[in-house]
Amino acid sequence: MTFLNFFISGISLGSIYAIIALGYTMVYGIAKMLNFAHGDVIMVGAYVCFYMVVRYELPPFLGVIIAMAVCTMLGIIVERLAYKPLRQAPSLAVLITAIGMSYFLQNTALLLWSSNPKVFPSIIGRGSFKLFDGELSVSHITALTIGVCLVIMAALTLFVGKTKMGKAMRACSEDKGAAQLMGINVNATISLTFAIGSGLAAVAGALLCSAYPTLMPTTGALPGIKAFTAAVFGGIGSIPGAFLGGLMLGVIEIFAKAYISSQLSDAVVFGVLIVVLLVKPAGLLGKMTQEKV
């Protein structure tokens, strides 16, 4: 039973990584850039949700919707100001800009909301489902996170695969120049990608802070890095890969803590990552693509 309980803890941690990883992987898949500020957009989303629910006493559902709207706007603004001017620049420059943006958001949050940690009210309460006479418990928030993950995953796959905008996204991802020649507005398409990615970040922020309820300006940073790892693990650019990678990362982390050493869990997690990348350099579900020169 302890084993199963650990497994469930791993899944609940992993589902959080998965939902953050979805945002990373989606932006990477389309715009081919690592948006390291993603974790910090999550933090902003969580703060907006926090203020809506605690200060203005709105229902949590509405709080999440407002947070999504704010983060979508933020995503578009960040993209327009920081990334768009660098569209033709080498990818390294964009990467550094993203890291800079991450620090900028963190420190702005520090000024706006101070560094004192706040306790986030859970958006659906702290209850749990009891199984096998209470031997096993799955918290509501874990169930909700996995459900939301699956819905987002399905919606994104459908959107990218079936709609016209999705087709434009895939075209941009494959060859920006050619897409432009075919009459696709590349800039608008990439802005849309960021808008969607940032909207997802707000949902991830609300779920992250509902599961692990302290909220600080640095809240998004480390889960962001872990989720990035999860996205690479599952194959960056692959939407189901992010989900799988997130869940596996969570489970491995908890098992490493429980059965190897609580001090070495991160070393084990990243050790596994190295092994996976040695065997499958594109990640678990990633496709190897030939870079055109």
């Binding site: 803890s9 986030f120 749990s128």
Partner: protein, 373 residues
């Protein structure tokens, strides 16, 4: 943003120097970044004390200046050098342990006296005759906690959860584990966490529960502690909890469900709810000015400036003395004087810079601290 910060610091500094000749007191601390809560609190505490003293209009006036070190040792040394160029005469060291270890070495080399509000690692004062601490040194907290738990008979079987990438947590844990057996405590479970895996504590709590720990010792700051308390409740585990001074502040977290902390015990030098006049005056002023209840870091910063006030007065020091002369006088004063402040009565310092004051045992009852003794 840095510009704004520097400007605001200059304004703070200038407001204190309005009376002409004043002692230049400098300190570094994390005013931005993840540890900013500690640096800003210590700075604000010191600020209030300096303003109070300057308002009294006596011979001792302070000009206070804080520089940001973002909890980074290298930046702390740069910040220290900036203060030295400014003409710092006595120093408040650094707020957090890692940067303080770096600046303390500079203080020692330059013969500028330092009294750190809250850098509690033993390495800060080790081998330096002119670096003193206002807070307990980490190892003392560990042994004091073990002694307190053992002598009060709170538990026999104890679990420890600690943060293994933090010198503060490790310092306390090391001496706690070492001293526990001599006070009749058996450590049945010992688990760790670090930055980046500090959200899920199910493994640590399950281990403590299965091995039958009656009390869980938490040598850490309150933010992870609040998660541990919430997760323990969710899994139906209700041992006794025992924290250290880093736990102080848990009740002031916005949105924290205070019932989770019911019965948590901690050793702390400062209690914002204490009824004595000195504490109440400080808490009131801090609240008026900054809109929040001061934590222990703010109290330490406040006491540091008052300790300087007392030492400088007794030494008949004047602002035209150079740093080295003041350093010698301060060493004489701090090793002999007794100080009463908001973090303790009859505070004394040993020659190696360690402070001795009584930790107060507190328990959280109905959402407020109550003395245990």
């Amino acid at each position: 943003m840095k510009k704004v910060l520097v400007c605001s610091l200059l304004v703070l500094a200038m407001s204190a120097s309005a009376f002409g000749a004043a002692f230049k007191v400098g300190g570094t601390g994390p005013l931005t970044g993840g540890a900013a809560i500690y640096g800003t609190a210590a700075m604000r505490g010191a600020q209030i004390a300096a303003e109070e003293i300057n308002a009294m209009g006596g011979d001792i006036q302070f000009e206070l200046r804080y520089e940001d070190d973002t909890h980074d040792a290298e930046k702390a040394v740069n910040a220290y050098n900036a203060l030295k160029d400014w003409g710092m005469q006595v120093s408040l060291g650094s707020v957090t342990s890692k940067p303080a270890e770096a600046t303390a070495a500079e203080n020692f080399a330059d013969r500028i006296f330092a009294l750190t509000p809250s850098a509690s690692s033993a390495a800060v004062t080790e081998g330096k005759d002119n670096v003193f601490q206002m807070c307990f040194v980490d190892p003392n907290q560990g042994s004091a906690s073990a002694q307190y738990i053992g002598e009060k008979g709170f538990a026999k079987k104890v679990a420890v959860i600690w943060k293994n990438d933090d010198v503060y947590s490790k310092g306390i844990r090391d001496t706690f584990v070492e001293k526990a057996p001599s006070f009749g405590l058996e450590i049945v479970s010992e688990t760790a966490f670090a930055d980046g895996n500090d959200t899920d504590f199910s493994v640590q709590l399950t281990d403590a529960k299965e091995k039958g720990a009656e009390l869980v010792f938490l040598p850490m700051y309150y933010q992870p502690a609040s998660l541990i308390l919430a997760q323990a409740q969710a899994m139906g585990y209700a041992p006794k909890w025992f924290g250290v001074d880093g736990m102080d502040g848990i009740l002031t977290m916005e949105g924290f469900d205070k019932s989770l902390a019911e019965g948590v015990m901690l050793l702390t030098p400062f209690n914002a709810d204490a009824k004595d006049e000195r504490t109440q005056n400080f808490v009131k002023k801090y609240q008026e000015k900054y809109g929040e209840i001061p934590n222990q870091f703010a109290a330490d910063g406040y006491d540091c400036v008052y300790a300087y006030y007392q030492a400088l007065t007794q030494a008949k020091a004047t602002p035209d003395m150079d740093a080295e002369t003041l350093c010698q006088k301060m060493i004489e004063q701090f090793t002999t004087m007794t100080f009463n402040g908001v973090t303790g009565e009859n505070v004394r310092w040993a020659k190696n810079g360690e402070v001795s004051k009584d930790p107060k045992g507190m328990v959280i009852k109905d959402g407020a601290y109550v003395g245990l003794d």
